[in-house]
């Protein structure tokens, strides 16, 4: 299994390099240069020439690429042209939001979709089945950006004075300032280094941070801000997973061993949950893993609508501002994350079904 993991990891390197190569050249193929898009009217030819030379953008692109690869190998993703700060720093600030948002969306999707999918399969052709499947079809057809806006309208305007009201934008209410957990515990973290990045990263996941610091006010506030975007983001995945669970369960429920289990006199619940469900899980897990790409695509839209500065929105803004280091660094992270999730999904097969040997 470890060998398999290593082999898969090695096989993924060319794909990640390919992604970097494509991003690098694609970003530079975008018409316009970073100087004019950042400085606007202040961009005189002299200033721009200086700017371009300072950032090393006057060198031939293949040379720039090699230099970039060298830097990346040393853990340096360069400096953002818009923010004038290291890309890793910006990433440490903004990735946590997207991670939190995606995990919450995926959790909502799984918690709703799997029970509904099982129910629809067990009570096939019942009202519950029809409603679930019609709902799934509608869910998969809904534009994320529209759903997000409608949810914002419903919860921030229509339900304004009810207990169900939810904030339509931002991460925290004004006046709430989360204290990083390492400060609460009085830990000294350095300016740079992996540990510092990791701790900052965790503290920027506000929900996790407020649990660690036992700050219930921030926890509730951060959670309430995250509900609508996560709900909007989860819908498509929810629909896809509900359908997958249903058809996978149907296939398994028709198997001989399920009939045997029923014939033995086992209770319906036990047959469904213990015998059938585990074997129906493999396609569901595969689909759940694949949702990450979908969720990240959706994050661009969700973050734009709910005014959240996460990865999706930052990449979008980076592309617009021709902020090459930001685009490269963020897309690199996304690609690595994607490859890692797919590997985890494949490794989980062996765990779910011991008959599957990975080698």
């Amino acid at each position: 299994m470890i060998q398999y993991g290593i082999r898969r990891f090695v096989a993924a390197i060319p794909v990640v390099l390919g992604v970097l190569l494509v991003v690098f050249f694609l970003a530079r193929a975008i018409p316009g240069d970073p100087c004019t898009s950042l400085l606007g009217e202040k961009a005189t030819p002299e200033i721009c020439a200086q700017f371009i030379a300072d950032k090393g953008l006057d060198r031939p692109v293949p040379i720039q690429f090699l230099i970039y690869l060298q830097d990346v190998a040393q853990g340096d993703l360069g400096e953002s042209l818009q923010f004038g700060r290291p890309v890793t720093e910006v990433l440490g600030e903004r990735l946590p939001l997207t991670v939190e948002l995606s995990l919450m969306a995926l959790t909502i999707a799984i918690v709703v979709a799997i029970p509904l999918g099982i129910l629809a399969a067990v009570r096939r052709n019942s009202a519950a089945d029809v409603v679930t499947m019609v709902g799934a079809n509608i869910g998969v057809s809904m534009p994320v950006f529209w759903l997000g806006l409608m949810l914002a309208f419903l919860f921030a305007i229509v339900l304004k004075d009810t207990p169900f009201a939810l904030p339509p934008s931002g991460r925290l209410s004004a006046g709430i300032l989360p204290v990083p957990f390492y400060e609460v515990y009085g830990w000294e973290i350095g300016e740079t280094g992996v540990l510092s990045f990791l701790l900052t990263f965790i503290s920027n996941m506000f929900i996790v941070n407020s649990i660690l610091t036992l700050d219930s006010e921030t926890l509730v506030d951060a959670f309430r801000h995250m509900i609508l975007p996560a709900l909007a983001l989860s819908t498509i995945s929810m629909a896809i997973m509900a359908r997958m669970t249903r058809s996978s369960m149907l296939e398994v429920l028709g198997q001989d061993y399920v009939r045997t289990a029923k014939a033995k006199g086992l209770r319906q619940n036990k047959v469904v949950l213990k015998h059938a469900f585990r074997n129906a899980l493999i396609p569901v897990v595969t689909v759940a893993g694949l949702q990450l790409g979908l969720i990240l695509s959706g994050a661009v839209l969700t973050e734009t609508i709910f005014g959240l500065s996460g990865v999706g929105r930052t990449v979008f803004q980076g592309i617009t501002a021709r902020d090459y280091p930001i685009i490269q660094g963020f897309v690199l992270f996304i690609a690595v994350g994607y490859v890692a999730i797919n590997l985890l999904v494949d490794l989980s097969y062996g765990f779910l079904d011991p008959r599957i040997r990975l080698d």
Binding site: V15, L26, L149
Partner: protein, 324 residues
């Protein structure tokens, strides 16, 4: 020899006659069509698509106004005014705008109706482009095998490792904004999906004895690909193409929503939604109606695609698994 004469030829003839008769009425396509009509979702989806096509064709007749005509200064018409329907208590002296007016005082209903044309165009053209290039790449990769297959598939893997929308945004930025360029971007990003389907069909068919027989008879590679392999790859292709139209419409609308696709004043649903989204709290109808239009159109193709999958995949039909 004697065993041949002993064979009950008449019985065989009878048996054959029956099956030949069946065979005629049960050609693959007819059988599929019959199965398709039994799929409720496919029928509903088909009717919806037919209606949308009619709306697109007769948009000029259905829409009460020109989608670009503004009513600035017209009495009793205001900017971003909510729906005014005479049957629902809107005063008779106010001009009827059943979906209200937008930020430039244009009739929202007429714009939504005309938007149908763009969305259907987006769906068909985008998927068309992706299918042509995806099929060529997939067929070549699967048929040639070896390093050709390897290099094509690795390049496609790279495309697949990107989140769909982020890559599309980058491509549109390179090409420049506009509906046609957004369509091209979505088409490019969709190519790998089609290439993979065709490739796997080619791989599964390539070693079949009837393909070997064709090769032995001297058929060229192109002839085998066109006559033997592609027809077998068609059913899965039709299914993912139908579902692909739904995705293409959704993603192109997303690009337009972000301001990268159709440009104002073009009546495109995503762009209409995007330009008015800041007015969500004051004029929700301008966000609501274009979104509903996108959803209905996408739903129609998803329903048809699902029905097609069940009808074209006999394995699913036998297993009794229907993802209606």
């Amino acid at each position: 020899m004697s065993s041949v004469t002993e064979f009950p030829v008449e019985e065989l003839d009878d048996a054959l006659e029956g099956s030949i008769g069946d065979y005629k009425s049960n050609s693959l396509w007819r059988l599929t069509l019959r199965r398709l009509f039994r799929q409720r979702s496919a029928v509903v989806g088909g009717i919806m698509i037919a209606t949308l096509i009619l709306v697109a064709i007769f948009a000029d007749l259905i829409a009460p106004y020109d989608p670009l005509e503004d009513f600035i200064g017209v009495e009793n018409v205001e900017r971003r005014q909510g729906p005014c329907i005479h049957l629902l208590d809107c005063p008779e002296d106010h001009p009827q705008h059943i979906m209200g007016t937008d930020g430039n005082v244009r009739d929202e209903f007429s714009r939504v109706i005309h938007g149908t044309r763009r969305s259907l165009l987006v769906g068909f053209v985008t998927v068309g482009i992706a299918i042509v290039f995806g099929s060529i790449l997939g067929a070549v990769a699967g048929y040639m095998g070896g390093w050709v297959d390897n290099s094509i598939m690795r390049v496609l893997d790279v495309v697949l490792a990107f989140p769909f929308l982020i890559l599309a945004i980058a491509i549109v930025q390179v090409l420049g904004p506009g509906l046609y360029k957004a369509m091209l971007a979505i088409a490019i990003v969709s190519i790998p999906a089609y290439a993979r389907v065709i490739r796997s069909s080619v791989l599964s068919v390539r070693e079949q004895s009837y393909v070997e027989a064709s090769r032995a008879l001297g058929a060229s590679n192109i002839q085998i690909l066109r006559g033997r392999i592609l027809p077998n790859a068609l059913p899965p292709l039709i299914v993912i193409a139908t579902l692909g139209i739904a995705t293409a419409i959704l993603e192109t609308a997303a690009l337009s929503f972000l301001g990268l696709g159709a440009q104002p004043p073009e009546p495109e649903w995503g762009a209409m939604l995007g330009t008015e989204r800041q007015q969500l709290f004051s004029a929700p109808h301008l966000v609501f109606f274009p979104g509903i239009a996108i959803m209905i159109t996408v739903l129609a193709f998803n329903l048809l695609g699902d029905g097609l999958r069940d009808a074209l995949d006999p394995r699913l039909a036998h297993a009794g698994v229907k993802s209606e």
